[in-house]
């Protein structure tokens, strides 16, 4: 019984840590600043930009990460260990360094060619999506691999013996069985993309009504020594982010009820 209580206490301690930080924000809360933020065209643009970019980056990341994670989980192939090792690359170098690396790439001949012949990434919307995509891809694969690892390969093998193609087995057996883990990975990936700042600000710049995402807007307010404005935007980001995650979880839960 004591062990149970200790573990519950730890869970509540996690809530206390984050909850305390959030509550302390209210020390600098200025309702008029919050109202001004909510009615500002610029802030609404930032909100919209953040939501669209994070969703796009997550979608592209998951499209690549799901099959990649499946391969890492199920198949043995040459280079498998290297792929597994490189997944933590964005986390290790840190977001700011990641942004610098992306900029360095685009200033190289190959990167310059890509920008000249496809679309503008640096200082543009595509740069936001690219920076977020690169930042979240590694952890998306890592989490998705764990999700697939939880599904015993036996079920797929049985499906195969019954005549299913590998793709059919994947779509009808593996994916549904791994859905809880897939959902959790998707949610985490989206949340990380939404909050991405370091790489985004380096690659995409800070122009309002063009590439100013909500985390960048928060930094800009702080850089203007406007603490009340910073707090107002943090609250906006928290409210939007947490409620979007909550709604997402609700929707998925109902669909698979």
């Amino acid at each position: 019984m004591r062990f149970r209580r200790v573990t519950i206490a730890c869970a509540l301690a996690v809530l206390a840590v984050y909850g305390l930080l959030i509550v302390s924000l209210f020390y600098f809360l200025d309702l008029s600043a919050v109202w001004q933020a909510l009615s500002s065209k610029r802030v609404l643009f930032s909100v919209q930009l953040s939501l669209v970019a994070a969703t796009a980056a997550t979608a592209i990341a998951l499209a690549l990460a799901i099959p990649a994670a499946y391969a890492l989980s199920r198949h043995d192939f040459r280079g498998r260990e290297v792929v597994d090792a490189i997944l933590e690359f964005p986390v290790i170098v840190s977001p700011a360094a990641l942004g610098a690396i992306i900029l360095i790439f685009f200033s190289n001949p190959l990167g310059a060619w890509i920008q000249d012949h496809t679309i503008q990434f640096v200082f543009a919307f595509a740069g936001i999506v690219l920076a977020q995509f690169i930042a979240v891809l590694g952890i998306a694969v890592r989490f998705l691999k764990s999700a697939f690892d939880q599904v015993p390969p036996r079920y797929e093998m049985v499906a195969r013996t019954l005549g299913a193609s590998p793709l059919r087995a994947f779509l009808t057996i593996s994916l549904p069985l791994a859905r809880r883990g897939l959902l959790a990975s998707g949610v985490l990936t989206w949340a990380k993309a939404l909050g991405e700042f370091g790489a985004t600000i380096m690659v995409a710049g800070t122009m309002a009504m063009r590439t100013e995402t909500l985390p960048i807007a928060i930094y800009m307010r702080l850089a203007n020594a406007d603490i009340k404005g910073t707090v107002a935007l943090i609250i906006v980001l928290l409210a939007i982010g947490l409620s979007a995650l909550y709604v997402g979880k609700l929707l998925f839960r109902e669909r698979h009820a």
Binding site: S107, A112, M207, I216, A225
Partner: protein
């Protein structure tokens, strides 16, 4: 299911590592009673919040000061506004050394610095900065309106050099040229240094920045001076004692050092203009120093 006994050893190791690291960090922490002790004792440590724009010169100057006086100057570098926020929230610090005058004005209005202690360290002249070798052959302000050119300036709402850039554009370009310029304006950078690296990393073809950018990265950046009549004012980098300081005398001593001959020599080495006269010589004319310019409404987004 792993038995509880099996988990005990790894848990114990993890806990020991955490406690050990904490103890290690605590032991290694500098003596924080230095400046908090106060009284007549000279502190062996000053805390300075500085704009990152002058980092190389500032770091050398603080090293020299420590050699001369034995007082270590610990510097928090960052965007001038961001470090001001940090100083306000931390409620501690001895010196504020922003990259431009408008942040000092903000700090004075908020009472974060002792206004009478303000001194000017160096002077800054705005200029067009391009990639080394000037591949796009940009010679004048009007050249920046050429279609297809990629230009950037610092965010005029948060970075001083961005505000200076806007003033130059507003005062020197015709309305149609202004529109062409803004069409080429790819984005805003978030700080002074990022405006320089936008050229170093070839993100854009040109920026309107400080002439000193070319001294920061002479291999990649070239400064194209603006004609004297296009420069409305020159900027300066100020320093002041913070109102949170517990050793204002020693802080003032640092200000005297950095505005004295030794400190000035360091800044001159990094390409900064030590006196207004040097800046005026570069420009070709005497110009107002600092002052306020209000960002026009069509550059502000609400």
């Amino acid at each position: 299911m792993t038995s509880p006994k099996r988990l005990l050893a790894p848990l114990a190791i993890a806990l020991a590592t955490c406690l050990g690291s904490l103890a290690f960090v605590a032991a290694g922490c500098p003596d924080t009673t230095g400046s908090a002790g106060g009284g007549a004792a000279v502190s062996n440590r000053l805390l300075m919040y500085a704009g990152a724009a002058s980092k190389p010169a500032t770091e050398e100057a603080t090293k020299m000061f420590e050699q001369e006086t034995g007082t270590r100057v610990e510097t928090v570098f960052g965007g001038s506004g961001a470090v001001l926020s940090q100083m306000e929230l931390a409620r501690e610090g001895d010196l504020y050394f922003p990259g431009s005058s408008d942040y000092m004005e903000k700090a004075k209005k908020k009472g974060d610095v002792i206004a009478e202690t303000e001194a000017i360290v160096t002077y800054l002249v705005p200029a067009i900065c391009v990639q080394k070798g000037n591949p796009k052959n940009i010679r004048t302000l009007k050249d920046l309106t050429r279609p297809g050119l990629k230009v950037a300036i610092a965010n005029p709402e948060t970075v001083c050099v961005g505000l200076y850039a806007v003033e130059i554009i507003e005062k020197n370009l015709s309305p149609s040229d202004k529109t062409a310029f803004r069409a080429n304006l790819l984005n805003y950078t978030e700080s002074c240094e990022k405006t320089a690296t936008a050229i170093s990393l070839k993100q854009v073809d040109a920026v309107i920045g400080w002439s000193v950018f070319a001294d920061w990265d002479p291999e990649n950046i070239e400064a194209i001076p603006l004609p004297a009549d296009q420069i409305p004012r020159i900027g300066y980098i100020p320093i002041a004692v913070a109102s949170f300081s517990s050793d204002t005398e020693q802080a003032k001593r640092f200000i005297d050092f950095v505005t004295g001959s030794l400190g000035q020599a360091v800044f001159a080495k990094y390409g900064y203009f030590a006196t207004p006269e040097q800046a005026f010589t570069y420009v070709g004319e005497t110009k107002p120093v600092g002052g306020e310019y209000v960002l026009p409404p069509d550059w502000v987004t609400k």
